[in-house]
């Protein structure tokens, strides 16, 4: 089996490497100190298993996994982290294993055995999407940023730079800093992870960053438009207008 070790700390990678050395069938094809290196190495080596730290600079572990999924790859994953253990308990239900730093050899071997069993299981088990795991680990806190793969480029959108989102079939169009980016995700799925006090579903096809809204104009009896800071007009449905009013009246 080919394995990848992804952790921004040298010593943390060294522990995993040392434990893996006791398993002759495991080959460490690459060690990566950040998410971007991990994406490159994964494309190059097609690993069967990755050991993945969660808190890393630029891209966290969940985002790395999400981007791998976007490319149609989903290696078996063992999260290795000093992250809050309560947050990770939710993973057990998803048959995703995690090692809490520091861990014993026995615990490591057990995680490896579990990953192997999942890999060879018939029928193959379908792991939950990374966004779902990330949401579970956030324990109800809203999303702070979105990663998008735009050709070979990875863009991290911090949510205060996201203007609005438009549904386009199985994709969402994300409007940020004058650019449009496409991401394979449904609007409902994304909306559920956003802070509902900052992002409002103003229309069946639109979620708006409230900070960008200047006013709502009524064109005809049944038709309203949201006017944004940059002059953009987005349609506001009757239900969307109702949501906006509830927010204003509640404030």
């Amino acid at each position: 089996m080919k394995a990848l070790i992804i952790d921004d700390e040298d010593l943390a990678r060294a522990v995993v490497r040392e434990h893996l050395a006791a398993h002759p069938d495991m080959e460490v094809t690459a060690e990566c100190a950040n998410g971007f290196e991990a994406l490159k190495a994964a494309a190059q080596h097609q690993p069967d298993l990755i050991f993945l730290d969660i808190q890393m600079p630029k891209l966290d572990g969940f985002e790395v996994l999400e981007l791998l999924e976007a490319e149609g790859k989903r290696p078996a994953v063992v999260f290795v982290t000093a992250y809050d253990q309560h947050a990770l308990r939710a993973f057990e239900a998803h048959a995703v294993d995690y090692l809490l730093k520091p861990f014993s050899r026995e615990r490591f071997d057990a995680a490896l055995a579990k990953a192997r069993a999942l890999q060879t299981a018939q029928p193959p088990s379908v792991p939950p999407p990374a966004t779902e795991l990330a949401a579970a680990a956030r324990q109800g806190k809203p999303l702070e940023r979105i990663v998008v793969k735009d050709g070979p480029k990875v863009t991290v959108i911090h949510l205060d730079r996201l203007d609005w989102v438009q549904a386009q079939d199985d994709y969402v169009l994300l409007r940020t800093e004058g650019k449009n980016l496409l991401k394979q995700q449904t609007l409902a799925n994304l909306e559920a992870q956003l802070d509902s006090s900052r992002f409002i579903r103003i229309h069946r096809s639109y979620v708006l960053n409230l900070d960008r809204l200047v006013r709502v104009e009524q064109d005809t009896k049944e038709h309203r438009d949201a006017i944004l800071r940059d002059g953009t007009r987005l349609p506001v449905s009757r239900a969307g207008y109702q949501r906006l009013r509830e927010l204003w009246e509640g404030a």
Binding site: D8, E9, V15, A33, Q55, A82
Partner: protein, 354 residues
């Protein structure tokens, strides 16, 4: 509710204060040739009436708080004057009504006539008494304010203590501890000598932070020692990603400051600075003694792609609160990002242990 009506003891004392005025009124009446019966029958109820009628001054005073400057006095003076004339007149009018009522009693038939002659005097006296009542009300309001300020001060102090406790509890950051122990776990196989060094550093850090936690004030030197122990451990974890630049002014070292004030700044610099950057960077810490003050700075590079921090995080807010709680306006707290570098500056008076 009027403060004098809220407490029986206060009301009693207030009414007792009117007794000499009642006596004075009787004396004046007697000197004008009134009989004892006439003077007594009028003075007593009239004083009782005034006592309650003039309580209203308190509400006027509460609505017109005295400013720090004299500018408000013009407007306030007009209001007091008008209210005094109104209440004085009302009081004199009620005195006349009372006299008409009392005239039904035997021996008091002459009372209405006597009162109508004395009406100007009564009105004047009413005005003076009302103005005295205004002065008394302002005194009471000032006293209430002083009590309120004292209560709020105590509350703030309690709050500061609580946040202090919270800061101390947050001290043993589990993420830091577990990551350090994981580094230690790696080193035991890789480099036993460094593993031992790491054990000693970790113990040193824990011992220092536990020891400091029991004190309210500490010399800057000890805070720097703790930061040094902490950063030595982080340097093992982060390797070449963490570079340190210390510029310590020995003259500032004995300065006293609230315990564990520096530690959150250093932890923040690691968490939001070094750890968030793949290539890491330089954490600089400088202290300087200038004209009786200590200037303490912690700088760290920031991820240029991350959004600028909106306001202060909890850690920095607590540091500011504790610094200002100790030194008040003699201290300054600044935090901000410039050219990709996050800088926190503390300025506080250089005070040393007596």
């Amino acid at each position: 509710m009027h403060p004098l009506l809220a407490s029986r003891a206060r009301l009693g004392a207030y009414l007792l204060g009117w007794a000499p005025i009642a006596l004075l009124l009787t004396g004046i009446a007697r000197s004008q040739g009134w009989s004892w019966a006439e003077a007594g029958a009028l003075a007593l109820p009239l004083c009782l009436l005034a006592a309650f009628l003039f309580l209203s001054a308190w509400f006027l005073c509460r609505a017109l708080p005295l400013g720090r400057t004299l500018e408000s006095l013009g407007g306030h003076g007009a209001a007091w004057g008008m209210a005094a004339v109104l209440m004085g007149g009302l009081w004199a009018g009620l005195a006349w009504l009372l006299a008409r009522l009392l005239a039904w009693l035997p021996g008091l038939e002459a009372l209405p006539l006597r009162v109508s002659i004395a009406l100007p005097v009564l009105t004047g006296l009413g005005i003076l008494l009302y103005l005295a009542s205004v002065a008394l009300s302002y005194l009471m309001l000032a006293q209430d304010r002083a009590i309120e300020a004292e209560r709020r001060g105590a509350e703030l102090q309690l709050l500061a203590q609580e946040s202090e406790l919270k800061a101390l509890r947050a001290q043993l950051n589990p993420h830091f501890l577990f990551n350090s122990l994981n580094s230690l776990s790696a080193l035991t196989a890789l480099d036993p000598a460094r593993a031992r060094e790491m054990c000693v550093l970790l113990s040193d850090f824990l011992r220092r932070s536990l020891g400091l936690g029991e004190r309210r004030l500490v010399a800057l030197r000890e805070e720097l020692d703790l930061a040094r122990a902490y950063l030595a451990i982080e340097q093992i974890r982060f390797g070449a990603r963490l570079q340190l630049d210390w510029r310590i002014d020995p003259a500032a070292e004995p300065a006293l400051l609230p315990t564990l004030l520096l530690q959150p700044l250093v932890e923040n610099a690691i968490k939001h600075g070094i750890a968030a950057l793949p290539e890491g960077g330089i954490l600089s810490l400088s202290t300087e003694a200038v004209e009786g003050h200590v200037i303490l700075r912690v700088d760290n590079p920031m991820d240029a792609d991350a959004p600028a921090p909106q306001g202060l995080g909890l850690g920095l807010r607590q540091v500011r609160q504790r610094l200002l709680g100790r030194f008040g306006s003699r201290a300054r707290f600044e935090a901000g990002v410039q050219d990709g570098v996050h800088r926190v500056t503390l300025v506080f008076p250089l005070e040393i242990e007596p």
